[in-house]
């Protein structure tokens, strides 16, 4: 029932905003809808926490401890992002960057995007999962090109083509999966239901599944932004409106990774070997290293943090690849804190760029003097994302690194170098933006920094104290993923 | 074996002897130099006369002088007195002895030197700072060199306390320690440098190009100057005593049995006479070197000291 609410609200919201999206109260409506979605997500979460996994609508939907916390997280960040985008988009409109029509598109697509992500998370059908992922791309493409600038168009085009092609590979993988499944489960509806597949994963045909996993990994991996499939990501993040960058970085990547992991579970069950894990570790490590070096060339602040997202996704993928309770726990934790922190950073960056009227790092100076809140938000957020305790990102990085040192020592030199380079790159740039002299005037509009500090507070909390029920989620999920 | 009182008495005697006899040694050295350069010389007691004269004069103090400047001469004198008490000039195992071993002894000299250098900088004249700088330059090489000498000796005797060193060396079967030969050479060089003798420094001139020690005490006068002069003569004697203790320890009394005193005194007198003459000879035959050569000179001393230690490990252990 909650699932109906969960998916219904954004869907209807999308329709409603398609009509009313350009009205004066549209942003508030948008926020209200996301709020409602969040509430239903919370209710659902409560259900799962006490009742355990549940399936609905003849098993078409399946919610267990693994995806429920992603659902909650997605709904939450989507909600806070609407809070942020309320003043942000107003200011953009003031600056004449946006027409009412664009705003309408933005609002309704935003809801639709939320819907697709939630669908991808809650569905039990691997095919529908694919459909939802593709739909998520489609909904965001037009948002990336919202400003209609040449750069944004180019970014959107690359986003569309690369992700589309990637997703196509994923479809092929899904087909292969089905191909293997119907041998065991027989043709028809149930053969793509994850729960059923999971039940019989031991008897699935290994060769097919290994082939399938390659396609799935390349496919969904493109959306996760794993190097060298990541090339759409920085462009899309940099050129789209900041709220979209925030949700892309904070949520979409997670959802894509979720898809990969769901499949990994099946493949591991079928293969009895560490094939999938090795692939993921390889991709993860490569992404971390490449992203780190890319970071040290950035001139555009949003690109900077886009690459940092690639780095962190790589880290998470690496952790999932390592497997084992600790690493998986850490990976899940890292998913959470990364999306919280990264979206917070994008909020702060959004205000900063609006102040400076430019996304170029060299044009942003002395935030801490022009508007201390934004400055501190950016500074603390960056420190958090760089893995500085007592923020939560450190907790997960701590677990990942120590486990890696224990399980996969060969990888640690790369991680050490990559993290060092990344720190040098990101912090050097953030420091120049936050500190120093400046001539920038203050802006008339009050920035919406509640989301920023709410997120950072949560991340800080997770660094010092992980509530038991959350820990239990993670543990159950880790046990599930293995 | 020793009642504390007699021990303390012996200690006092030794210290007094050193303090009082120090100018005499200086006089003797100067006399020898005079003779060696065919001059009649001013006589053995000249230093005492000098001190008396200075003590009678009125002190003139630069306006810029701080209390530190005035305190320094006394501190210097105190340090030297302490040093004189620590070194077994006549006898070992005196009550002072455990208060400081060789390292501490080097520490005492360092303390005195730092105070003098600071005092020299206190007035804020070009010569003062120049002197201080040069003094510290000489010191930072001479001090480790001296330590190396001591280390060699203490590696032989497995101890850094002078008394033990002297006793071990005094009755060790092996009379010739090759390591000590190196050490002795290094020690002589250090002695020359530390006591402002030719070839490193020339106590007799106020030539700005060459002077080190004199440059530091330019601003002192009267009683302050007297104390400093006296202190440096004590320093000279102490160094001689150290050299004797390390390299010709025979005749030094063990414990304070008064019976051995005459012999010890005689031996000391003999050794000092010879050593003083030797120093005079050395100074006459060698020429003052440029100040920038001093580091090389002392560097050599330092290396000799290290070599001494190494040879000890190679040949004697």
């Amino acid at each position: 029932m909650e699932i109906l609410w969960l998916l219904g609200i954004p869907l209807i919201g999308a329709a409603a905003l398609a009509l009313l999206g350009s009205r004066r109260f549209a942003p508030e409506l948008n926020a209200a809808l996301s709020g409602a979605t969040f509430v239903s997500a919370a209710v659902l979460t409560a259900r799962i926490v006490e009742g355990g996994p549940l399936t609905a609508f003849h098993e078409q939907f399946f919610v267990d401890s693994f995806n429920v916390f992603l659902v909650a997280l997605t709904a939450f960040v989507a909600f806070t992002t609407t809070l942020f985008s309320r003043p942000y988009m107003r200011i953009e409109q003031h600056h004449g960057k946006l027409t009412p029509a664009m705003l309408r598109l933005y609002h309704s697509m935003y809801q639709l995007f939320t819907f697709t992500m939630l669908l991808a998370l809650t569905t039990n059908n691997m095919g529908i999962l694919w459909v939802a992922m593709e739909a998520a791309t489609l909904t965001t493409v037009l948002l990336v090109s919202l400003y209609r600038t040449p750069a944004s168009l180019e970014a959107a085009w690359k986003y569309f083509i690369l992700c589309g092609v990637g997703i196509a590979q994923a479809l092929f993988g899904t087909i292969l999966l089905y191909f293997a499944a119907e041998k065991v489960l027989g043709a028809g509806g149930t053969a793509l239901l994850w729960t059923h597949l999971n039940a019989v994963k031991g008897s699935l045909e290994p060769t097919v599944l290994s082939l399938a996993f390659v396609f799935l990994l390349v496919g969904y991996g493109t959306k996760v932004g794993l190097a060298p499939l990541h090339n759409w990501l920085p462009d899309a993040h940099a050129e789209g409106p900041t709220p979209i960058s925030a949700v892309l970085s904070g949520l979409l990547l997670n959802v894509a990774l979720y898809a990969v992991v769901r499949n990994k579970v099946l493949v591991d069950g079928a293969l009895e070997s560490h094939f999938a894990g090795n692939l993921m570790m390889g991709f993860g490590l490569l992404s971390v290293v490449m992203a780190a070096f890319f970071l040290s060339r950035q001139k555009d602040v949003k690109r900077l943090f886009a690459y940092s997202s690639i780095e962190h996704m790589g880290l998470i993928t690496f952790a999932f690849g390592m497997g084992g309770p600790v690493a998986t726990f850490a990976a899940l934790l890292h998913m959470t804190v990364h999306s919280l922190t990264k979206s917070a950073i994008f909020f702060a960056v959004g205000h900063a760029t609006q102040k400076a009227g430019s996304q170029l790092i060299e044009n942003i100076r002395g935030l801490i003097t022009t508007s201390p809140t934004v400055g501190w938000g950016l500074m603390l957020g960056s420190l958090a994302i760089l893995g500085m305790p007592p923020f939560g990102v450190f907790a997960s990085e701590f677990l990942i690194l120590t486990t890696a040192m224990h399980e996969q020592p060969w990888a640690t030199p790369f991680l050490l170098i990559a993290l060092g380079v990344a720190f040098a790159a990101v912090f050097g740039r953030v420091q120049t933006m936050v500190f120093g002299e400046t001539t920038l005037p203050r802006l008339p509009h009050a920035p919406a920094l509640l989301p920023v500090f709410a997120h950072l507070a949560l991340v800080l909390l997770l660094g010092l104290y992980i509530p038991p029920y959350l820990a239990d989620w993670y543990r159950q999920a880790a046990a599930l993923i293995g | 074996m020793m009642t504390p009182y007699s021990g303390i008495l012996f200690q006092l005697l030794q210290s007094l002897l050193v303090v009082l006899a120090a100018p005499l040694l200086l006089g003797w050295v100067n006399q020898c130099r005079a003779w060696l350069s065919n001059r009649s010389g001013a006589g053995l007691l000249q230093p005492y006369r000098g001190l008396r004269k200075l003590l009678h004069k009125d002190a003139v103090l630069a306006e810029t002088a701080s209390p530190l400047f005035r305190a320094t001469p006394y501190v210097l004198f105190g340090c030297m007195w302490l040093a004189a008490g620590v070194v077994p000039v006549l006898a070992t195992d005196l009550p002072y002895a455990p208060a400081a071993d060789v390292i501490a002894l080097v520490g005492i000299f360092a303390l005195a030197r730092v105070f003098l250098a600071l005092a020299a900088m206190d007035i804020g004249t070009s010569f003062g700072t120049l002197g201080a700088r040069r003094e510290m330059l000489v010191a930072f090489l001479a001090e480790p060199a001296l330590l190396m000498v001591f280390f060699t000796a203490s590696l032989i005797s497995h101890s850094t306390s002078l008394s033990t060193i002297v006793e071990t060396l005094a009755h060790s079967q092996a009379v010739i320690y090759p390591s000590l030969a190196f050490a002795a050479l290094a020690f002589v060089m250090v002695l020359l440098a530390e006591n402002a003798r030719i070839p490193v420094d020339n106590p007799a001139t106020h030539l700005e190009l060459t002077m080190i020690h004199e440059a530091m005490i330019l601003e002192y006068s009267a009683r302050h100057l007297a104390l400093i002069e006296w202190a440096s003569s004590i320093k000279l004697l102490t160094y001689f005593a150290i050299g004797i203790a390390l390299f010709l320890p025979w005749g030094i009394v063990e414990g304070n049995n008064w019976a051995g005193l005459p012999l010890a005194l005689g031996a000391l007198l003999l050794k000092l006479t010879v050593a003083g003459a030797g120093l005079a000879l050395l100074e006459t035959v060698s020429a003052k070197m440029r100040i920038f050569r001093a580091p090389e000179f002392l560097g050599t001393a330092f290396l000799l000291g290290v070599l001494g230690m190494l040879t000890h490990f190679l040949l004697e252990s």
């Binding site: 059908n125 037009l142 040449p150 085009w157 043709a187 | -």
Partner: protein, 220 residues
């Protein structure tokens, strides 16, 4: 076992599909590209129908219908209108010259056949070789996307890839569950519309459909 008639038909169509894929790879004119694409759709429909008939899987008829409507009628029609509106029928040059592309294509075919071999061994369906062909055509259209400069051919390549996948779905596995196929079809349709919007935006911004105008965003 002796190949049934329907099985032989399907293999024939599969071969045809592959042929078309090659033709697209070598084709220079956009218009004929579109026609080839439509043809591919048609072949796909027929093969689906045959599979549906021979294995009487009811829902495959639906998907055949969807294919017909979507890939033989609507999409080509949209594409035709587009290129007429943007009048870009003229010839298109490729990054790599055609013969090389063909050679690479052949290598790809061999590669994918070898890849699919062990799998199609254990395929219980009448159509064993088709999986390899499907994979081959997917990779070929991928190659085509890589080699084309203009936006439209790239998109056609994309759609052709979709076709290959669809073929794999129908012939190799007797079709995915209907929900999924509907979803896929919907996505393709929406994607196409969005692309349509795009073309005009690109056109009015760069007044050309040449992708070489869209190489500004890079690290340097």
């Amino acid at each position: 076992m002796p190949m049934t008639l329907s099985g032989q038909f399907i293999n024939l169509l599969a071969a045809l599909l592959l042929l078309i894929a090659f033709a697209m790879l070598s084709q220079r004119r956009i218009l004929s590209l579109i026609n080839l694409f439509a043809l591919q759709g048609l072949v796909l429909t027929i093969s689906t129908l045959i599979v549906a008939y021979s294995t009487n899987q009811g829902h495959l008829y639906y998907s055949a219908a969807i294919t017909l409507v979507l890939k033989v009628i609507i999409l080509p029609w949209i594409l035709h209108r587009l290129i007429r509106k943007l009048n870009i029928q003229w010839d298109i040059e490729t990054l790599i010259n055609i013969p090389t592309t063909m050679l690479i294509g052949i290598v790809l075919v061999i590669f994918s056949f070898n890849l699919a071999l062990p799998i199609s061994q254990l395929a219980g369906t009448v159509t064993r070789a088709t999986l390899g062909i499907a994979m081959a055509s997917v990779l070929l259209s991928f190659l085509m996307m890589i080699t084309r400069h203009k936006a439209v051919p790239q998109v056609i390549g994309f759609l052709a890839m979709e076709n290959g996948l669809f073929f794999a779905a129908t012939s190799a596995t007797y079709g995915m569950p209907l929900v999924v196929e509907l979803g896929i079809a919907l996505d393709v349709l929406v994607g196409m519309f969005i692309l349509g919007i795009f073309f005009f935006q690109i056109r009015e911004t760069f007044n050309s459909m040449d992708l070489r105008h869209m190489e500004k965003l890079k690290e340097d």
